[in-house]
Symmetry: C2
Subunit: 477 residues, 2 copies
């Protein structure tokens, strides 16, 4: 007797064969119809038991959440809602699930409730679908880069350098917390710490990825990054995964081409490979939004929104042009923006980015050449000395999905920038070495993986697209 | 004019075409022959400059490590050592590399020296080859699991649970180091820390992976894990990457089948896709070992060793059988083992594992059914009450490459074990929930990624197979 996953069985449909499947009970109706799911697909397999032939005590154990092994014959289904079903000849109960205490009952649970049960929520349709899409997205990312001549690079997680300044950092230490050793100056003596110096969790692998791009040509990172910011919002995690490609000999135009091509390919992969899960999630979102007032609902359904990105060219617009458009826009004139756009130099907010994408251009947008003052020190200064070769990729609903730049490859200009910002050059000796020895035009960008999962699944809260979210006051499991 | 990577150009060989390439100078001979490398392959491309047609100042800038853009015609090479070369019509210097100060000169550098220059060492042949193989291995791992119905799962990096006890942990904190807040008992008040409790870096994602296997069926993690152990050896890192597949409804036999099948597939992928790099690394290892006494040299060359794993069945042997073999073995009787094997119950050392693989069975070995006392609490107890359903996969040269078990799925037995070990049940409430609700036979194993990279590249020190190694007293870059 062959053992199958439900996904295999639904694909192959070996009618008339004796098969074995394992899974968890979703529902058990009329003491006869078991809907079994094993996580391989959103679809359940109906297993029909002739209750006359089974022990009553056994049947009592078949409740939502119980784990079963079922042997039987695969037959065409007479009922509606499924093409095949199993006529069970044998049922073995791996483990029961007491319906009084098992939290995941066949009814609607709030996302908040399920966050408290993060170890069980993947057994629900919504979270199993989200996590399968997440897995497919991750593989699509690796596949794209590997097919296009990039090498995967693991940037360090524990870092002794805090020069990037992308955000607040978590300290990593093995010192005695209560009585840390002090040096002669009365300061904490980090030379006695595990690494002999103060160390933190990385906020970005970019600088290290640059060192590898300047040897391997094209590389990408895909690893966890951390921010110790006290942001209790639906958009922020203290621990999240980032993808950071970095390419030698790429200028900003090539960087923009790559980001567009990459994002489209990855979303097309999900459209091709996660159809069932996307259809389920699209329906979930529609249901959820029914209770909202019209103006708060999504303009596009989930799959339409993915198609919108895949099928449209990304419009490339300079920051300066964008400011002109925004200044003269209706919402700005009618003071509908929370942050009015009055002058060149201001940072753009999500409301502005979404206006450009959803209302003005009606396609994804790449903004470039931002004011130097609102961007990071390593971005390449333009001839005008006011702007840098930065770019942000803007999406409907979420605004910025990726941000990058051509990197400053000129040693003197980079040193000047570092000094202006009071960063210690010694901290960045190795980064500056890249400009001393065989420097070249190079570029890269970063994309927050969870934002991409949110976009692809329609989940509104970032805590619902990662298995175990880490947020202020919360590191359970 | 089309821009190519050197790998593309060597594959396609568009003879007679005008092409553009970018890369770094490996060597410049006779003011005429530039060996250029762009990291896409171990092979350099020879670019021939007619020095009569080029400015002398330009030629002077062509030194090892300089970054160049070269335009020219691809022609068949007249010289030895390459099939094609570029007749350069135009040379642009992106960036120079002063031969007085650039550390990576065309001569043999020690691996120790290169560790100090970890930001530049990927520009050497050895490290570029190692890191390309590393990237291919990572992709092979994802490909294998995705093709076989597994879902990729990101286990949390920051963890509030320290119950697994796999090793010493790093604390993650944002508290004031010098003057941490104290509670009424005079202890550090972790409720004021970022997560409201004491948190550490994960030592393993297994327990969380189990929660996902019990919903999605088959999952795998691939992420960084940490050990704060003061082990300054060539085999240990404080930060390393682990792969941990976890499968519902798999018993130990299925787990052993998977581990064998998985490892063979991944190594075959590298044999198929990294031929040039493996050949280079094999030659490197032979050269390196020439200076060693005969008995310290590898018995097999690198590619032969990979074939040895791919082509042989893994012999499955119980711990009890293995102890008998070892007790009666020549090296044990002649007291050649550093750790003599006298009785059932001892933990096996690398020397014993290697003896079994290299001398006795002459094939990879999977040992199973270890004494409960030397294995972790979550492994399934056998009927004999003495052994658990553990398994270790043993390889030539390195000994244990992977370790796993069938997990204890019975609530009472798991609780008993936890209590015996004085672990607080409350710490593991969610892990125990898996046994309360829909428990089932399940299994998994863990494989240290860097060990696999070492095995595949022949690098003797684990610090040389990860971009930026983290070890006691060392977190540079």
């Amino acid at each position: 007797m062959k053992s199958y996953s439900i996904k295999e069985l639904l694909n192959k449909q070996p009618i008339g064969d004796s098969v074995e499947i394992n899974g968890w009970v979703k529902t058990f109706r009329s003491n006869r119809f078991i809907a079994l799911n094993d996580g391989s697909t959103i679809h359940n397999l109906q297993c029909v038991v002739d209750f006359e032939n089974f022990n009553e005590n056994l049947l009592k154990q078949i409740t939502t959440g119980a784990a079963l092994k079922i042997n039987g014959i695969l037959v065409e289904s007479q009922g509606r809602g499924q093409s095949v079903e199993i006529q069970a000849t044998d049922v073995f109960v791996h483990g029961t699930a007491d319906s009084e205490t098992y939290p995941i009952q066949p009814k609607k649970h709030s996302l908040e409730f399920l966050r408290e049960k993060a170890h069980l929520r993947v057994r629900t349709n919504t979270f199993s679908a989200v996590m399968r899409v997440r897995s497919a997205l991750a593989f699509a990312i690796h596949s794209y880069f590997q097919q296009n001549g990039f090498y995967y690079m693991h940037a360090p997680i524990i870092t002794g350098s805090d020069a990037e300044g992308a955000g607040e950092m978590f300290r990593v230490t093995t010192l005695d917390t209560k009585k840390p050793p002090l040096n002669d100056n009365g300061e904490v003596d980090y030379t006695q710490d595990f690494f002999g110096k103060e160390t933190n969790l990385t906020v970005s692998g970019q600088l290290e990825a640059e060192t590898y791009a300047m040897g391997l040509g094209k590389v990408y990172t895909f690893g966890p990054t951390f921010r110790a910011e006290n942001s209790n919002t639906s958009r922020h995690l203290a621990e999240f995964w980032m993808i950071e490609p970095e390419m030698a000999f790429y200028d900003l135009d090539a960087n923009m081409d790559l980001s567009e091509n990459f994002i489209k390919w990855v979303l097309q992969y999900v459209l091709d490979n996660c159809k069932d899960d996307l259809e389920f999630l699209e329906k979930r979102l529609l249901d959820e939004e029914k209770s909202k007032p019209q103006h708060e609902r999504s303009e596009m359904a989930l799959i339409e929104k993915l198609r919108f990105v895949v099928d449209n060219n990304f419009k490339r617009v300079s920051y300066t042009e964008a400011i002109d458009i925004l200044k003269n826009s209706k919402p700005n004139k009618k003071k509908k923006f929370q942050f009015p756009v009055n002058e060149w130099g201001v940072d753009l907010q999500s409301e502005h980015e979404r206006f450009l994408v959803e209302k003005h251009f009606k396609c994804p947008v790449i903004l470039f050449d931002y004011p130097a003052k609102i961007k990071a020190f390593y971005m390449r200064l333009n001839e005008d000395k006011k702007t840098v070769r930065a770019m942000d990729v803007l999406f409907p609903q979420i605004g910025e999905i990726a941000g990058g730049s051509q990197r400053e490859e000129r040693l003197e200009i980079l040193q000047q920038k570092i000094n202006e910002l009071d960063i210690d050059e010694k901290e960045l000796w190795w980064y500056l070495d890249l400009r001393r020895f065989g420097t070249a035009v190079h570029s890269g960008f970063g994309l927050g993986f969870e934002r991409l999962v949110q976009f692809s699944t329609g989940m509104g809260n970032i805590r619902d697209v990662i298995p175990y979210p880490r947020t202020p006051q919360n590191a359970e499991f």
